[in-house]
């Protein structure tokens, strides 16, 4: 038994590829399922949310304009990086969710595998969601999916890591950029994921992670005029209606909360939820 005093980690937000503290200077206490103190997490404010939107918007052009192959490679790289820090995440998830080591391991492994699953979708989604349309005239007509834009994601409250990955990965693989609000009570795996994202060739701003009170951060995001869509996975039933109402102001695409088994095969629903179909016509003639 060493008497060496361990070094704590200061958990920070992840915005625009950087790790700022909350501009509000606030933190909140994060405990494990038994109430033992784990860390102080940043208590993000509406201004942090605003900054995250700016970062996500700035990153959108480059990320959506990258080749699908390139995006797939980067998502796969995230899986590789996670694999290397597997033990850390197992410990964090076990603490956060009060799971046994073997159950936490299953969650982390599933999360890593989920990155791999979505990474492979990058250059295939257009082939299942788009295609040539046989119009009744001399026109070339092609529909292809494009990312919706900046997506606010309220990560699931219970599944702090697998759930988080399951909502971020499908949004970004198609070229969207994301502001993710971590599980309110269990934000640490999310904040640690930021460290992985920062070292996986993912351009800064593509994923931004905020911790704090979901309701406080979600409200300005739902109302923000420069956010194009919102995933309400982590919203409680009471606030979901208000958030959807606020989202109507600029007609955000809204993915309503539902009961999701994050360990199940995710299918393509979340992948397709934040896509726009663009149809291009061009005459054919000599």
């Amino acid at each position: 038994m060493s008497d060496r005093l361990s070094v704590f980690k200061t958990y920070k937000l992840y915005v625009g590829g950087k790790f700022p503290r909350s501009e509000s200077g606030r933190v909140y206490e994060v405990t494990d399922s038994k109430g033992t103190w784990l860390a102080n997490a940043p208590l993000a404010s509406r201004k942090d949310a605003r900054d995250a939107v700016v970062a996500a918007r700035k990153a959108f052009g480059g990320w959506s304009g990258a080749t699908a192959y390139n995006r797939g490679q980067i998502l796969y790289r995230i899986a590789e990086m996670l694999e290397g820090r597997r033990d850390q995440f197992i410990a964090e998830v076990a603490d956060a969710e009060g799971l046994s080591k073997s159950k936490a391991t299953a969650q982390v492994d599933a999360a890593i595998d989920r990155w791999v699953w979505y990474a492979g979708w990058s250059d295939k989604v257009a082939q299942i969601a788009g295609g040539a349309n046989p119009v009744a005239g001399p026109y070339f007509n092609l529909s292809s999916p494009e990312p919706t834009g900046v997506v606010a994601v309220l990560a699931p409250q219970e599944s702090s890591f697998l759930g988080l990955v399951s909502v971020i990965a499908p949004a970004i693989v198609t070229g969207n950029t994301v502001i993710a609000v971590a599980s309110e009570d269990s934000p640490l795996p999310a904040l640690s994921l930021a460290e992985v994202l920062a070292t996986s060739d993912l351009p800064g701003g593509v994923v931004n992670i905020l911790s704090g009170r979901t309701a406080e951060i979600a409200a300005p995001l739902a109302a923000h005029q420069d956010v194009n869509a919102i995933d309400l996975a982590g919203a409680d039933a009471g606030s979901a209606k208000d958030l959807e109402t606020a989202a109507a102001d600029n007609l955000k695409r809204v993915l309503r909360p539902g009961t999701t088994d994050w360990t199940a095969d995710p299918g393509t629903d979340r992948l397709l939820a934040f896509l726009e179909t663009k149809t291009v016509w061009h005459p054919m003639g000599v």
Binding site: G137, P138, Y139, P283, M284, G285, V286
Partner: protein, 354 residues
């Protein structure tokens, strides 16, 4: 593009005063564009710098104009106008003086039962029939048009083509319908085509007259330049050849010989009308248009007149500036004309078969 040129040729910017292509002043206007025809390279750059043509859009526009519904008084006007614009044509190996004389008689009095019917614009024949036609038409005012330049293929040496032209002019042809060398055009020898048209235009001069005098005795025959658009295939080619011919001095540009599978079509004609419009805007020179081949019904003819009306306007709605190269069209126009005046449908027994 034309307006770009209109701007380049600054003196012409403010809608130049219109001059006919066959008039004296036209040569001066063309001279102002001399730099684009200075050499092969300049001509190629100019023609390839013309705005592209989107085939689908052009065809859609022509089709939409084809939906105009021309009724009652407008129809009566259009029918008489169309009759007066016909180059009544016989271009058969079996043509004889008798056949040509019969056609001439029909051209002067298209409807033997109704002397109010207008006469046609011209009788169009092979060069060896010009004298016969000229004699038959006399002072009726109906012109004699002659195809020339080794019509319809145009595959002969230039001296032969010029001799062919001069023969027809000498025999009294008022108008010459020449064919361009499509082979030269398609292989990109634009200057060769340009020079050939210029040479034929010179051959249209009548001995004793000049090549640039007004119509009438001793004047030059007017030159119609046939592109055989069915062989040029693309609309871009049609726009280029239209400009090429107008720059070379064509008085009329004409779609087809009537001897190939694809003859005049509404979109090709519309495109040529647009080229004439743009050329006029740039130079002030007025050039005529003649669709030929395949126009058989009153309905079709009216569609063409609508295109002229809505593309070039009233100034072109005379036989001086628009012609139909046709033969069977006349009888259909006459039957429709009889229907309008009597209220009952006519039949082929009530028009003459020639």
């Amino acid at each position: 593009m034309t307006w770009r040129y209109a701007r380049r040729y600054a003196p012409l910017v403010t809608m130049p005063i219109t001059v006919p292509a066959y008039g004296k002043e036209a040569a001066g206007r063309l001279a102002s564009m001399a730099d684009v025809t200075a050499d092969d390279g300049a001509l190629r750059r100019f023609l390839h710098g013309l705005p592209g043509v989107d085939a689908v859009g052009l065809e859609a526009r022509a089709a939409t104009l084809g939906t105009r519904s021309i009724k009652t008084t407008a129809k009566a006007y259009a029918i008489d106008l169309a009759i007066s614009m016909i180059d009544l044509t016989t271009l058969e190996g079996a043509d004889t003086p008798g056949k040509v004389r019969a056609l001439c008689a029909k051209g002067i009095h298209p409807d033997p039962t109704d002397r109010t019917s207008p006469k046609v614009a011209a009788i169009c024949v092979y060069p060896d029939m010009v004298a016969t036609a000229k004699e038959a038409l006399g002072d009726s005012g109906v012109h004699v048009a002659s195809v020339a330049t080794a019509f319809p293929a145009g595959r002969a040496a230039l001296p032969v083509k010029l001799a062919d032209t001069r023969d027809a002019v000498a025999a009294g042809a008022d108008e010459i319908d020449m064919v361009i060398d499509r082979g030269a055009f398609l292989s990109g020898r634009y200057m060769e085509v340009f020079e050939e048209i210029k040479a034929v235009k010179e051959a249209c001069a009548r001995p004793g007259g000049t090549s640039q005098t007004e119509s009438g005795g001793g004047s030059a025959a007017h030159l119609k330049v046939i592109f055989e658009t069915g062989e040029l295939q693309t609309y871009d080619n049609v726009r280029r050849v239209s400009w090429l011919a107008m720059l070379a001095g064509a008085d009329f540009i004409k779609t087809s010989t009537g001897k190939v599978a694809v003859n005049a079509t509404p979109p090709v004609t519309l495109l040529m009308l647009e080229a004439v419009r743009d050329f006029h805007a740039a130079t002030g020179v007025q050039v005529g248009v003649k669709p030929a081949g395949g126009i058989r019904t009153t309905k079709d003819a009216i569609k063409y007149l609508v295109m002229v009306n809505e593309t070039l306007g009233e100034r072109w709605l005379t036989a001086d500036w628009f012609r139909f190269g046709a033969s069977s069209l006349l009888n259909d126009l006459l039957m429709q004309r009889q229907k309008l005046s009597t209220g009952r449908y006519s039949g082929p027994d009530y028009v003459t078969v020639d």
